[in-house]
C-alpha cells in the first residue's frame, strides 16, 4: 500500500481547475449579460449622486475596468481579462475610488479567513461531541434537547442572532467590543497585546457563526453513529468483552469519517455566515466591503470578492478532500 492515492488526488485537482474556470467564466460573463452597459449604469448613478461632478472620461475608464468595449470580439476580451487576473489586476473599486480592488482584498481577506477557519474548527469539535452524546443516548432527554437546540439554532437567521449577541453582550453587557478586529492604538504584528486584542474581538463573531453552523455536525454525527451502534461489528466487539467506552470510541471513529464528507458544505456555509456577519460586527473582512459594494453597485469589487472567496473555498476543499482521501479508503473508491 503506497501512502498517497495519486489517482484520486489528480482527479480532485482536475475538478478544482474545472470549478475554478467555471467561476472565472461566470464572473466574466455576468456584467456582459446585463442589458445595456453596466459601466453606463454606474456612471449615470455616480453622475446623479455627485451632481454632475464627473466628466465623460470616467465612463471610458469604467468601460476599460470592465473590459467592455463593443468593438473587440468576446474571446479577446476574455483573454485580456485572464491576463489582468494573472497580474493581480482586479480593477479599481468604484465605491472606494481610486483604491485598487486587489489592495482592499489583500487587507480584508485574511480577517475573513481567520474567522472562517476558527469557527469551522470549533464547531467541528463541539458539534461532533454533542452529536456523539445524542447518538449514544438516543431518545433520552439529552438527545432530544441537543437535537432540538441545534435545529433551532440552525433555524435562527444568522444575522439576527449576530444582532442579539451584539446587543446583549456588547451594548448592554459591555463584555465584548462593539466592533473592529483589534483595539485602536494596538500595533499590528506579532506582539502579545495585538494577539490578545484580536482574540478578544473575535469572540462574538466566532461564537455566533459556531452556534449557527453547529447543527449540521450534531445531526450528521448523531445519524451516522446510530447505525454504527446497532451494527453487528459493535455487537461482536461487545461480545469480545471490550469495555463500554472502548466500544463507544470505535463507533464514534467509524461515524466520524462519513461525517467528514460534510466538510465542503460546511466551508461554504461558514463563509456565507462570516460574510453576512462581518458587517454587523464591523469586522474589517470582505463581508463588510461586500455590503458597500452592493449598495454602490461596485462591480469590480463584487467580482473581486467573488473570485477571491471562491479561490479560498476551493483551496480549502482541495486540502480537505486530499486529507480525507488519505484517511478513508472508502472515499477513494467512490471517486467523488
Amino acid at each position: 500500500m503506497t501512502a498517497l492515492p495519486i489517482k484520486y488526488i489528480i482527479k480532485r485537482i482536475v475538478i478544482f481547475i474545472a470549478v475554478f474556470f467555471g467561476a472565472l467564466t461566470l464572473n466574466f460573463m455576468l456584467p456582459r449579460l446585463m442589458p445595456g452597459n453596466p459601466a453606463e449604469i454606474v456612471y449615470e448613478d455616480l453622475l446623479r449622486d455627485s451632481g454632475g461632478d464627473i466628466n465623460i472620461s470616467f465612463l471610458h475608464q469604467l468601460e476599460a475596468e470592465y473590459g467592455i468595449s463593443n468593438n473587440k470580439p468576446i474571446w479577446i476580451q476574455f483573454f485580456s481579462y485572464l491576463n489582468d487576473l494573472f497580474h493581480g489586476n482586479l480593477g479599481i473599486s468604484i465605491a472606494f475610488f481610486p483604491v485598487p480592488v486587489s489592495t482592499i482584498l489583500y487587507e480584508a481577506l485574511p480577517w475573513t479567513l481567520f474567522l472562517v477557519i476558527s469557527s469551522i474548527t470549533i464547531s467541528f469539535f463541539i458539534g461532533n461531541r454533542l452529536g456523539r452524546y445524542a447518538g449514544l443516548n438516543r431518545n433520552h432527554a439529552g438527545d432530544l434537547i441537543i437535537d432540538l437546540f441545534s435545529m433551532f439554532m440552525a433555524a435562527f437567521p444568522a444575522f439576527v442572532l449576530a444582532f442579539l449577541m451584539l446587543d446583549i453582550f456588547s451594548v448592554y453587557g459591555k463584555l465584548f467590543p462593539v466592533g473592529g478586529a483589534f483595539a485602536v492604538g494596538v500595533n499590528m504584528g506579532l506582539n502579545v497585546p495585538f494577539i490578545v486584542s484580536t482574540l478578544y474581538h473575535a469572540v462574538l463573531p466566532v461564537a455566533t457563526i459556531t452556534l449557527t453552523s453547529l447543527g449540521g455536525w450534531v445531526l450528521g454525527m448523531r445519524n451516522n453513529i446510530i447505525p454504527n451502534v446497532n451494527s453487528d461489528y459493535i455487537g461482536f466487539s461487545q461480545n469480545l468483552g471490550l469495555k463500554d467506552y472502548q466500544v463507544k470510541r470505535i463507533a464514534y471513529r467509524n461515524a466520524l469519517l462519513p461525517n467528514l464528507t460534510g466538510f465542503s458544505m460546511s466551508i461554504g456555509l461558514s463563509v456565507s455566515g462570516v460574510i453576512i456577519e462581518e458587517s454587523i460586527f464591523s469586522y474589517p473582512g470582505v463581508g463588510m466591503y461586500m455590503i458597500t459594494a452592493i449598495d454602490d453597485l461596485d462591480y469590480p469589487l463584487l467580482q473581486g470578492i467573488f473570485l477571491m472567496v471562491i479561490i479560498a473555498v476551493l483551496v480549502g476543499n482541495l486540502i480537505v478532500d486530499i486529507l480525507l482521501g488519505i484517511l478513508d479508503p472508502r472515499i477513494k473508491q467512490e471517486g467523488d
Binding site: 475538478i15 474545472a18 470549478v19 467555471g22 467561476a23 461566470l26 464572473n27 455576468l30 449579460l33 446585463m34 442589458p35 453596466p38 449604469i41 437535537d147 435545529m151 433551532f152 440552525a154 433555524a155 435562527f156 437567521p157 444575522f159 439576527v160 444582532f163 442579539l164 451584539l166 446587543d167 451594548v171 447543527g215 445531526l219 445519524n223 446510530i226 447505525p227 446497532n230 465542503s264 458544505m265 466551508i267 461554504g268 456555509l269 463563509v271 456565507s272 460574510i275 453576512i276 461586500m290 455590503i291 452592493i294 449598495d295 453597485l297 462591480y299 463584487l302 470578492i305 467573488f306 472567496v309 471562491i310 473555498v313 476551493l314 476543499n317 467523488d336
Partner: protein, 329 residues
C-alpha cells in the same frame, strides 16, 4: 404509497389478507380511499419531530391565511406615531416609520410562506430532475452533471446571491418577487440533486428495476413509473429542506439589499428594523417578532425534514427493522 406504509401493511395483513378474502363494501372502500389520500400526511404524524413540525407549519399557514383577508391596519401605511411600544391598539407597537408591526407581521406571512414553498417546490423539481437523470444516465453524462452540481455545492450560496442579486439590481426593473425566487432556486437546488443522485443510483440497482429493463421498459418510463415512487419520502423530505433554505435565503436576500424592499414580508421587516438600528435603541417589538416567526417557520421545516429522514432512512429505525426480519421468516 411509501416504504413506510408498506411496512405497516405487512403487520396488518398477516391476519387481514392472508386469511380472509378482501371484502370491499361501501364504507370500507370510502375509508380506505380516504386513508390513501391522507397517506403522506399520515406518515408525517408518525414521528414525534415531524408531527411537531407539521403542527407549527399549519399554525403558520393559518396565520398567513388570516393575514391575506384581515389586518388591523393597512400594513404599509405610515399612519401612526413612530416607535410606539406595544399597547392595546397596537399589539406589537409601531415601527420607526409609524407602521403597525402586528399588521405587517400578518400581511407579511403569506409572501414569506409563498417564497419558502415556491423555492421548495421548484428547487426540488429541478434537483429531482437533475439527480434522477444523472443517477440513471450513462457514466459520462453522470460525471458531467456531478461536476456541475459540485460547483454549485462548493460556491458559498451568499456569493451567488450577491452576484445574481447585483445583476438583477442592475436591471433596474420592478419584477416583484421573481428575482428573489430565481436567485434562491438557482442557489438552492444542488444539495437535493446530490441526494437524489445517490438515492437513484442505489434504487436503480434493485432487482425490480433490472426486471423492468429486461422486459424492455424505456428509461423514462422506469423513472416516472417506478423510481419517483420509490424515492418519494426523500423527495418530500428534500422539499422541506429546500423550503427551509428558501426562507433563510429570503432573509439573506433582503438583508443584503438585493431583494425588493418595498414589499412587506418578514425579511424586509427585519431589514428595515436592522437598518434603523432598532436593536440599539431598544425597540425590541420591531425586530424580535419577525425574527422569532422566521425562526419558528424554519424550525418547522427542519423538524419535518429531519423527522422524515428518520422515517425514510431504515438504518435509523432499528426496532422496526428487527421486527420485519421476524415477519419475513
Amino acid at each position: 404509497m411509501t416504504p413506510e406504509s408498506n411496512r405497516r401493511a405487512i403487520k396488518l395483513n398477516v391476519n387481514d389478507d392472508a386469511l380472509k378474502e378482501t371484502r370491499v363494501d361501501g364504507i370500507s372502500a370510502i375509508f380506505s380511499s380516504l386513508k390513501k389520500m391522507f397517506a403522506p400526511v399520515h406518515i408525517l404524524t408518525e414521528n414525534g419531530k415531524s408531527k411537531f413540525g407539521l403542527i407549527l407549519l399549519l399554525a403558520m399557514v393559518a396565520f398567513a391565511v388570516v393575514g391575506i383577508f384581515y389586518t388591523p391596519y393597512a400594513p404599509n401605511a405610515y399612519l401612526f406615531k413612530k416607535s410606539m411600544p406595544p399597547s392595546y391598539n397596537h399589539l406589537l407597537g409601531t415601527t420607526g416609520y409609524g407602521q403597525d408591526v402586528f399588521s405587517q407581521l400578518l400581511a407579511g406571512a403569506a409572501p414569506t410562506l409563498m417564497i419558502g414553498f415556491s423555492v421548495g417546490i421548484l428547487g426540488t423539481l429541478i434537483s429531482v430532475f437533475v439527480g434522477v437523470v444523472s443517477g440513471f444516465a450513462s457514466k459520462k453524462v453522470n460525471e458531467i452533471i456531478n461536476g456541475i452540481v459540485n460547483v454549485f455545492l462548493v460556491i458559498p450560496g451568499v456569493l451567488l446571491i450577491m452576484l445574481f442579486g447585483a445583476y438583477f439590481l442592475g436591471l433596474k426593473q420592478n419584477m416583484g418577487y421573481l428575482p428573489t425566487v430565481i436567485i434562491l432556486i438557482s442557489t438552492g437546488w444542488a444539495f437535493g440533486a446530490r441526494t437524489f443522485r445517490s438515492v437513484t443510483l442505489s434504487v436503480s440497482k434493485r432487482d425490480y428495476i433490472l426486471s423492468s429493463i429486461l422486459i424492455g421498459e424505456r428509461k423514462l418510463s422506469i423513472i416516472f413509473r417506478q423510481i419517483i415512487k420509490s424515492i418519494m419520502p426523500v423527495i418530500v423530505s428534500n422539499f422541506f429542506f429546500t423550503a427551509m433554505y428558501g426562507t433563510m435565503g429570503l432573509t439573506f436576500v433582503e438583508y443584503l439589499g438585493v431583494g425588493n424592499l418595498q414589499q412587506v414580508n418578514w425579511g424586509t421587516m427585519l431589514y428595515w428594523a436592522i437598518n434603523n438600528e432598532a436593536y440599539l435603541v431598544g425597540e425590541w417589538w420591531w425586530i424580535l417578532p419577525p425574527a422569532i416567526l422566521i425562526s419558528v417557520l424554519m424550525f418547522a421545516f427542519i423538524l419535518l425534514n429531519f423527522g422524515l429522514d428518520e422515517i425514510a432512512n431504515p438504518a435509523l429505525k432499528v426496532f422496526k427493522k428487527k421486527k420485519k426480519v421476524i415477519e419475513r421468516a
